[in-house]
Amino acid sequence: MKPAPFAYLLPSTVDEAAEMLAATGGKVLAGGQSLIPLMSMRLAAPPALVDINRVGGITDIEVGDDAVRVGALVRHAALEAHAPAYDANPLLRRALRHVAHATIRNRGTTVGSIVHADPAGEMPAVLRLLGGSVEAVSQARGRRSIDAADFFVGPLESALGEDEIAVGVVFPRPPAGSGSSWLEISRRRGDYALVGVGAVVTLDSDRNVIGAAVSLISVGATPVHVDVGHVGADSAYDDVDWSGATELVDAAISPEADIHATADYRRHLAQVLTRRALAEATADAAPRVAA
């Protein structure tokens, strides 16, 4: 379990990194928590690693009025612990707590996990749920922003070009009066989820539902996003029947069997968790409605 030979490059600016990527056809090394195991098992053998850990200007968490912007070098643990980010968007911490184990969160980056595009990854689904975007830089195309809806293409496959660096991601703040929830079931604490569901529910000033969506992981090739707003539309927060949502979810997902669970069981969990997550997000929203 030792990687095949590779060149190691250590740029200090984004442009330098983009130049190296283009020149070598190598891969970006961020936290290494996904890439290094793949290389050690020789499932990946990039000719070069462009280590961005010394690159300046991509280390910050910026909490704005509309969004939380997360730089490429922000570790899961830093974002999880970031109080202003939590205040602006509690879902980030709620989901991050389920990403792997503390030691892995200390190294692994949130942007890296989004670029990695694992259909079992939490943060891709959160980005999708919130309607976020990825900021990319390459030598050929310069800087561009890719919407989450377009970003996740397939398992471990994103719209990011091989020569592009994701310099940051933007998690928009849900509208006022929104609550959120992240629920998942994994075999062991910290494992990739058998099924996970993130939910955002928005209430109007009378605490009636005006919006609701869920994003699910481990039940499709990419995060599965389902708008279920009309199911709860106009119901009072304490009297919503979310059962219609589970039907929509059931139609949208395509879970597969693996050694840990049958497809049927995953389908069942998706329904149970969707119901629970929507209820939890609704309850979370109620006290956030301005009196």
């Binding site: 379990m1 020789r42 184990h101 075999r187 062991r188 910290g190 494992d191 669970a261 069981y265």
Partner: protein, 796 residues
């Protein structure tokens, strides 16, 4: 008086070193050594047609490539069949490198030696092997139907069949008022030590000697095996175990191919050579355990008393049988647990499959047997509507029936005779600990909250302290420190602490003065190894007996020095003194000086033993004819047969009505390992065992597909539980001393793991009302059981 250390919760002396990163494991050694990697078979069953290394030869750093054809002398013969048995009519062992056929994914075919492991793996990737695929035999059912064969010359894939019977079970079952048949299965798991295997060999061409470090559970036997295979005189080979990061059974198997190949390459290349197993290699080329199918018929009375029990089972032994029939023999005998069916018949077939071989893993066949017997007890209780604890009680061997002879032959070739134990007392302690009789009320309260809870219990008896012998050597140094060596090995159990407690007590020295060495053949050459929960019983007894000898010698020498009778002396805090008059004393270091008459005073203390310093009888030799210099001695302990520990576990689970997740709410253990040397260490062993048991009950399995690929050969997908999956474990002890050794102790190392699957199956069954016949069970499988019940239209 020195306070007695035996029985105290003494903190483990090894922990500060191990926990602060100062352990020295195999991979911490030999940084100057060449590295080894192997080409391993990607196929479960194939003929090796051709090996082409041409593309690899130019790699910088490559030192050598070896395949079967390079092996010479006895290294080219199959590896030894370690434990022959008359019933093992078709025992098969692998070659160190595959000769012309591979029988499981992971079998080593080519050995690459290079400057480092990276280069070695690069070379492995460039070697091409051509195979002719043969039909793979995977799983007990396919092995049993015999349509395809693992070994051409083993008809029906049957390595062995064996029957043991006491009484006429079939007749007893026929005559029983009630009968049931159960079909039960347990999946494969494995020892999975955190540190895999590893070997470092240094050939010294000038001295013509070989020093081998290996992460093993038996250094003495590895030494013999290497000497035999490499045709070296045994005295030219020494084997040392460094710190070992867990064994759990897999490292008692030896010699592993690598334990022969690495020393062989070191001799051949005249360089130090090292191989460190990686996790994938460990999954696919070491050993697994557990996989068995059982078909059980039981006859019993209306009171629940078992009158006849007949068990037929099929044991998946994987591709090879170097460890003989130990696992199925243990299953077949230890299945009986604390119970005494009037008549018992057991028959098993040990079957070859194209999978990693099966050798003992902590519990060694007992978890399967316990699962079967305890499922039977629960089935009887369910049938009769009796309390499950009561049915067990009615079948218990009673304390006044000890020693109890089952009339069977155990794994050590000796009669299965329980030496002691008080099963009714253990059960009543357990019921009290878990609140067995109050559970119905708890269940009602939980149900009112929409929660499903269940309780289960399971009992086991474990033969421990298997012979033939262990020994120890103890020397008191002239500075008063005490050096203890025992030949068996340690893998983190706390042996250094436990053995030091015993020796310190026996010799009357402070524990800090005692240093214990294990598993180093340079220090102690006669030993068997660490397995079968035997160290406290075997080495513990051996060092106790040895310490008594050394003590006697110390008193004899001191009696001259103090001019007092031996009977009037005692040893307190490292000083020999006249009883009741501590003013008249000599410290043990000084006694050690006096024990060794000297010519040269190499230091101040030594001067006291030189020829002009001490008064002596000029007509006697300085060392008496029946004496030896030095305050030291060795001794051995060899018991007539195994001593039988026992225990009972109860578990309370909650199952989620929606998600089918299983949560352990309480885990209670009553444990009887005879006299306890160190309760903290025993409890640690129980904790670890229960954790592994929970792994086997709810998480771990070896997921082979039909072609014999192991689909979950990594810690990502082989779900060893984390600390977060293990509940708090409540423990109570009973101490029923063993009459079979001087300390009254019984083994404790494996105990915790044995009844866990049985207890958890019972608790889930209790919570869910579906019959559990197979373990482990995942939420997905429990969900399927619920679905199946709904489809049958049954209510919960």
């Amino acid at each position: 008086m020195t306070t007695k250390l035996f029985g105290q919760r003494i903190r483990r002396v090894e922990d500060p070193r191990l926990l602060s990163g100062r352990g020295r494991y195999l991979d911490d050694l030999g940084h100057d050594a060449l590295a080894v990697a192997f080409v391993r078979s990607p196929h479960a069953h194939a003929r090796v047609l051709d090996i082409d290394v041409s593309a690899a030869l130019e790699v910088e750093g490559l030192v050598a490539i070896f395949s079967y054809d390079d092996l010479d002398g006895k290294t080219s013969e199959p590896l030894p069949l370690l434990i022959p048995h008359p019933a093992l009519t078709h025992g098969r062992t692998p070659y160190a490198l595959a000769k012309d056929e591979v029988n499981h994914v992971g079998e080593a075919i080519v050995m690459v030696v290079a400057s480092d492991r990276y280069v070695a793996e690069d070379v492995v990737g460039l070697i091409r092997v051509d195979y002719e695929l043969l039909p793979p035999v995977v799983g007990v059912e396919r092995a049993r139907d015999g349509g395809a064969l693992v070994h051409d010359d083993v008809p029906g894939n049957v390595a062995a069949t064996m029957v043991q019977e006491v009484g006429d079970a079939a007749a007893a079952i026929d005559a029983s008022p009630r009968r049931q048949r159960l079909q039960l299965s347990i999946e494969r798991s494995a020892s999975m030590p955190m540190e895999g295997k590893g070997v470092l060999a240094r050939w010294d061409a000038d001295d013509e000697s070989l020093l081998v470090h290996t992460s093993t559970q038996t250094s003495t036997s590895v030494r013999q095996a290497i000497a035999a295979k490499l045709s070296l005189p045994v005295d030219r080979v020494e084997v040392v175990t460094p710190d070992v990061g867990g064994g759990f059974g897999v490292k008692i198997v030896h010699p592993w191919p690598e334990e022969i190949l690495v020393p062989w390459a070191s001799v051949r290349l005249n360089r130090p050579v090292k191989w460190v197993e990686d996790r994938r290699e460990h999954f696919i080329s070491s050993a697994h355990e557990r996989g068995q199918l059982h078909d059980v018929t039981v006859g019993y009375g209306d009171d629940g008393r078992v009158t006849g029990l007949s068990v037929q089972f099929w044991h998946d032994n994987g591709a090879y049988t170097p460890y003989g029939l130990i696992v199925p023999i243990i299953t077949s005998t230890q299945l009986l647990g604390p119970y005494k069916p009037t008549a018992y018949r057991v028959e098993f077939a040990s079957l070859y499959t194209n999978t990693v071989m099966v050798t003992p893993y902590r519990g060694a066949g007992r978890p399967q047997g316990c699962f079967v017997m305890e499922r039977v007890m629960d089935a009887i209780a369910a049938d009769l509507g009796l309390d499950r604890a009561l049915v067990r009680e009615r079948n218990f061997i009673q304390p006044d029936e000890m020693p109890y002879d089952h009339g069977l032959t155990f794994q050590d070739g000796r009669p299965l005779i329980y030496d002691s134990g008080d099963f009714p007392a253990s059960l009543s302690k357990l019921k009290q600990l878990v609140g067995w009789d109050d559970f119905a009320k708890y269940r009602e309260r939980a149900a009112a909250e929409g929660r499903r809870v269940g309780i289960g219990l399971a009992c086991y008896v474990e033969g421990t302290g298997v012979g033939p012998y262990e020994g120890g050597h103890i020397r008191v140094e002239t500075d008063g420190s005490v050096v203890v060596s025992t030949g068996l090995t340690t893998q983190g159990q706390g042996h250094q602490t436990m053995l030091a407690q015993i020796v310190a007590d026996e010799l009357g020295v402070p524990m800090e003065r005692v240093r214990v060495t294990t598993g180093d053949t340079r220090r102690f050459k006669y030993a068997v190894g660490t397995f079968a929960s035997r160290t406290a019983v075997m080495s513990g007894s051996a060092v106790a007996l040895t310490a008594r000898k050394v003590r006697a010698k110390a008193l004899r020498i001191a009696s001259n020095a103090l001019e007092a009778a031996v009977d009037d002396l005692e040893i307190v805090d490292g000083h020999v003194q006249v009883k009741g008059s501590p003013g008249s004393q000599v410290d043990l270091g000084a006694v050690a000086v006096l024990s060794n008459p000297l010519r040269y005073a190499f230091d101040e203390a030594a001067a006291r033993a030189t020829q002009f310093a001490t008064p002596h009888d000029p007509d006697q030799p300085p060392v008496a004819a029946d004496d030896e210099p030095g305050l030291e001695g060795s001794g051995f302990f060899s018991p007539t047969r195994s001593t039988f520990a026992n225990g009972m576990h109860a578990v309370v689970v909650e199952t989620d009505p929606d998600t089918a997740e299983v949560k352990i709410l309480r885990y209670c253990v009553v444990h009887d390992c005879g006299t306890i040397i160190n309760p903290m260490i025993v409890e640690g062993q129980v904790h670890g065992g229960v954790a592994q048991g929970i792994g086997g009950a709810l998480f771990e399995r070896m997921e082979y597909d039909e072609s014999g690929q192991l689909l979950n050969a990594s810690y990502m997908d082989f779900l060893m539980p984390y600390a977060s999956e293990i509940p708090h474990i409540e423990i109570d002890h009973l101490e029923t001393p063993s009459p079979l050794n001087p300390l009254g102790v019984k083994g404790a190392g494996e105990a915790g793991v044995i009844p866990v699957s049985a207890a958890i199956a019972a608790a889930i069954e209790d919570a869910e009302g579906v019959v559990i016949t197979a373990m482990p069970i995942s939420p997905s499988e429990l969900f399927d059981l619920r679905r199946a019940r709904e489809q049958r239209g049954e209510a919960r």
